[in-house]
């Protein structure tokens, strides 16, 4: 009889057991990959912290051919471009999200949403190419910068690259604000405009912070477009006009120089060292963004 039972079942028990075990392993694979990525960055990058004096690493000059590995100009370059990009993208993104969620009629939404999805899909190298050939000359002419390849050009391109992230996360934040909040605002005699900015947006504040964090993470890690349009001069962006001069980011440095270095050289280790910094930075940014997401989930959200 027992034999019969097994033959009518489509699969023997042990196969099912094996499949479920495999699925468990695959479920945990994401953690494994994050650890693996960090380990291999450490493995190739840690040596630089022994080969190069700490004073040199935090120095202001990055000239690998002269054994100068000051990462400060690269770090500041990344920060400058990222902050400028968010300064452009946040108002545009928040306004678009508010328009899409609160104000626009359906037909306008049907046009806006796919356009933003298309923007999210355009490869970074295509935007970089476009920035080089059309945006940079425009900036050269309007601002009188020698080449048009400036931190500002990079920030402009980056702003558009982080817009889809900012818009969609901000939209979710507005969507999570209960309708009763809006009704209460309107019932108090406020206009829709006042209700949006004094009730709905403040209520969705934490989600909007998440949107900014994720947009920042996207911007600081962006590589190809930034490398193609920022001019790649490793100088300290300290003066006020730095925004309109060439600058060099950490990502662009790795992408541009890794192809030319000898494996195992100090320069090679230094580039992996930059990789470690990038990993830790984006990890921290995403941790903050994720913690607001988890908090909301635990509180059961605003709904």
């Amino acid at each position: 009889m027992a034999k019969n039972d097994v033959s009518t079942a489509p699969q023997p028990r042990w196969i099912e057991f094996a499949i479920e075990a495999l699925i468990r392993v695959l479920g945990f694979s994401s953690i494994g990959f994050v650890v693996l990525i960090f380990l291999f960055l450490l493995r190739e990058g840690i040596p630089v912290f022994f080969e190069v004096l700490p004073g040199n690493l935090v120095g202001t000059r990055w000239y690998p051919t002269f054994d100068l590995f000051g990462m400060l100009p690269l770090l500041l370059g990344s920060i400058l471009v990222t902050v400028a990009a968010i300064a452009i993208a946040l108002p545009l993104g928040l306004a678009t999200a508010v328009l899409v969620r609160e104000v626009a009629p359906n037909w306008a939404r049907e046009i806006l949403k796919p356009m933003i999805e298309v923007l999210a899909g355009i490869p970074s190298v295509v935007l970089g190419f476009f920035g080089m050939t059309l945006v940079a000359p425009l900036i050269r002419e309007t601002l009188g910068a020698p080449t048009g390849l400036t931190a500002f050009t990079g920030a402009l391109i980056l702003a558009y690259m982080s817009l889809p992230t900012i818009i969609s996360v901000a939209e979710d934040a507005l969507d999570a604000v209960p309708k009763s909040y809006r009704d209460a605002g309107l019932a108090m005699g406020a206009t829709q405009w006042q209700t949006i900015w004094r009730v709905v947006v403040p209520a969705g504040r934490s989600g909007i912070v998440t949107a900014v964090m994720l947009g920042m993470g996207r911007a600081i890690g962006e590589t190809m477009a930034v490398m193609m349009v920022t001019g790649n001069a490793a100088r300290m962006p300290l003066s006020l006009d730095s925004l309109f001069r060439p600058v060099r980011t950490m990502t662009a440095t790795v992408a541009a120089e890794m192809g030319e270095v000898a494996q195992g050289s100090v320069h090679y280790h230094a580039l992996f060292g930059i990789g470690i910094i990038l990993f830790v930075l984006t990890f921290a940014i995403n941790l903050v963004a994720a913690s607001t997401i988890f908090q909301k989930r635990r509180r059961g959200g605003l709904r």
Binding site: I23, L92, L99, P123, G221, T282, L287, A289
Partner: protein, 281 residues
């Protein structure tokens, strides 16, 4: 000032912001289509590059990108869908599950060039795959995992609990319920997610810089351990590394890449909306 006037001005301002967002997107796409179309003919698509890439076609780059995308799909789909099944069907809300979600968020946030470094360190050097399609595909696969997992998990969760209950009440095991009831229902959503992951892989440059991409290789790759040209890297090369490059070829390459990616995303959204309308629950 009149409150309704303020409101009308405010809404106009929002509209202006949306225009500032949308018009450049349209401009980029139309420019690339109009200028790229001039370069594209049959030869451009199926010929090898000649004269230091200044003439001829981009055939090896197109083939390279297709191969890399397929390689990525083969590696990423089982892991991504398996991971999603675990999260949607098996995982309970413990600190370990939260750690998995955190890991996925972080994988999604790691800069593409850091994936390149990782691929160089693990696949190219440590596992000695060399700069190869295998190394590039595996690097891209890990990068696309978070996209596939999130989309597939969402698709699985959208299948109502009753489907699983009914399957169990008929004597099906948990796995049978997933395999024969839940997965088929979630398939369109999973396929959409996979396509979204693949179009990301097809367009990325930084992860393939040190793991697979060849500057100039006027022949097709011979095996998975061979290097290959790829469309995004080729566009980077001909717009920054080769002086005196004809603009038509640059725009043409950009258009082929853009057309590939936009057609993939169109397919994804068609599948999504078609099945959403047909769905009976």
């Amino acid at each position: 000032m009149n409150r309704s006037l303020v409101q009308r001005l405010g809404f106009a301002l929002l509209g202006l912001a949306a225009l500032i967002v949308v018009v450049p997107i349209l401009f980029v796409i139309l420019t690339i289509i109009v200028r790229g179309a001039q370069a594209i003919d049959w030869e451009f698509l199926v010929a090898m590059p000649r004269d230091g890439m200044k003439a001829g076609g981009i055939f090896p780059a197109i083939v390279g990108t297709v191969l890399l995308t397929l390689g990525t799909a083969i590696a990423a789909i089982p892991v991504g869908v398996g991971g999603a099944i675990y999260l949607a069907e098996y995982a309970r809300d413990t600190w370990l599950t939260r750690a998995i979600r955190l890991a996925i968020i972080n994988l999604a946030g790691i800069p593409s060039v850091v994936y390149g470094l990782f691929g160089l360190g693990l696949f190219v050097l440590f596992l000695q795959f060399g700069t190869s399609i295998l190394a590039g595909s595996l690097t891209l696969a890990i990068m696309t995992l978070p996209i596939i997992i999130s989309a597939a998990e969402e698709a699985l969760r959208a299948v109502p609990t009753e489907f699983r209950t009914v399957s169990a009440s008929l004597g099906g095991t948990r796995w049978q319920g997933i395999r024969y009831i839940v997965l088929p229902q979630a398939l369109p959503g999973i396929i959409t997610g996979v396509i979204l992951g693949m179009l990301r892989a097809a367009g990325e440059t930084a992860p393939i810089l040190f793991t697979v991409a060849a500057f100039f290789l006027p022949r097709l790759p011979q095996s998975a351990f061979d290097q290959t040209m790829a469309l995004p890297y080729h566009l980077y090369v001909i717009s920054t590394q080769v002086p005196g490059m004809p603009a038509e070829i640059q725009y043409g390459t950009a258009l082929v890449l853009l057309a590939l990616i936009l057609s993939m995303s169109t397919v994804a959204s068609v599948i999504r909306s078609y099945y959403r309308r047909r769905r009976q629950w």
